[in-house]
Symmetry: C2
Subunit: 163 residues, 2 copies
Amino acid sequence: MAQHGRSGCPINLTLEQLGDRWSLIVIRDVMFGNRRSYGALLSSSEEGIASNILADRLKRLTAAGLLSREPDPAHRQKAIYSLTEASIELVPLLAQMGAWGRRHTRPSRELSVRAGLLEDGGPPLWEAFMDELRHLHLAAPPPERSVFVELQAAYETAMAEKG
Amino acid sequence: MAQHGRSGCPINLTLEQLGDRWSLIVIRDVMFGNRRSYGALLSSSEEGIASNILADRLKRLTAAGLLSREPDPAHRQKAIYSLTEASIELVPLLAQMGAWGRRHTRPSRELSVRAGLLEDGGPPLWEAFMDELRHLHLAAPPPERSVFVELQAAYETAMAEKG
DNA sequence: TCCCTCCACTTGCAATATGCAAGCAGATGG
DNA sequence: CCATCTGCTTGCATATTGCAAGTGGAGGGA
């Protein structure tokens, strides 16, 4: 039964965890940008997240089990954030968000290249990407195919074409 | 190019339109509950949306092209809200949200039955459902199969079993 | 050891969004 | 003609967001 929220509907419960303007942006940057620390997330933020909002979201997402946090051995005051299985399984959701946004908003061409690849690749590509994320974030064995590199290369090509 | 928002990323642009706690709840109720008027949305709201928030979201979603609004011929002061092609194409996104919520939150059993059917049916079922929504909301020809009735029947069976 | 810089994160405060309760005006129906 | 209903607004308290500045501990060079 639903414990504390507004209702026990799974769509509602997902919205209660992720339905704000920043949570999924943070997860997107960890996932697709491989930004793993507070500083990396703050300074390279395309959308310009405020520092207090970022700190708050890192706490909330960690508490909710969507990120894990461990100290950086090289830098005592730094922490490394990783995706968890729960957030890795957001890949299909983010892919659908990208696909919808590509069709029904006016995205910039460079930034929609990755979304296009993810959409065209469909569930098999998503699975391969999720396996790779399990390797990068959960110490699973490395996958044969690096979707991450493919996505990044496509993005950089598009950026170069743009000039 | 991105016009006014935070960035041209399609995921971000989707979040700017739908990334709040209520917009997708309203769309969900119109879509799966076939609630087409202000009153129906307000009174049967599982989550108890406040009347001012509902009024605001109906305006914003209509302005954004995710709902259309036309006067009810039978009831002069009443309006009928319909999905648009853009919001009908949110079906895969909502299906993924339901699927994720089913796995990673604690939904009530009755309310997750529909999400389970949608997940199991996959893209072919989503397409059939979207065709049906086009019939119900956009005056497209009726489909052969009524996914709507199947989902509703499953939900009601689950409710009856619950007692 | 001293000091300077860097960096993860806080704090203060104004602006905006949310939630609740009550209100209102036009329509409906007897 | 009047009571009621209904779609929607208003007022106001509280929560969330956004911006700018600050803090405090580590790192690192002299």
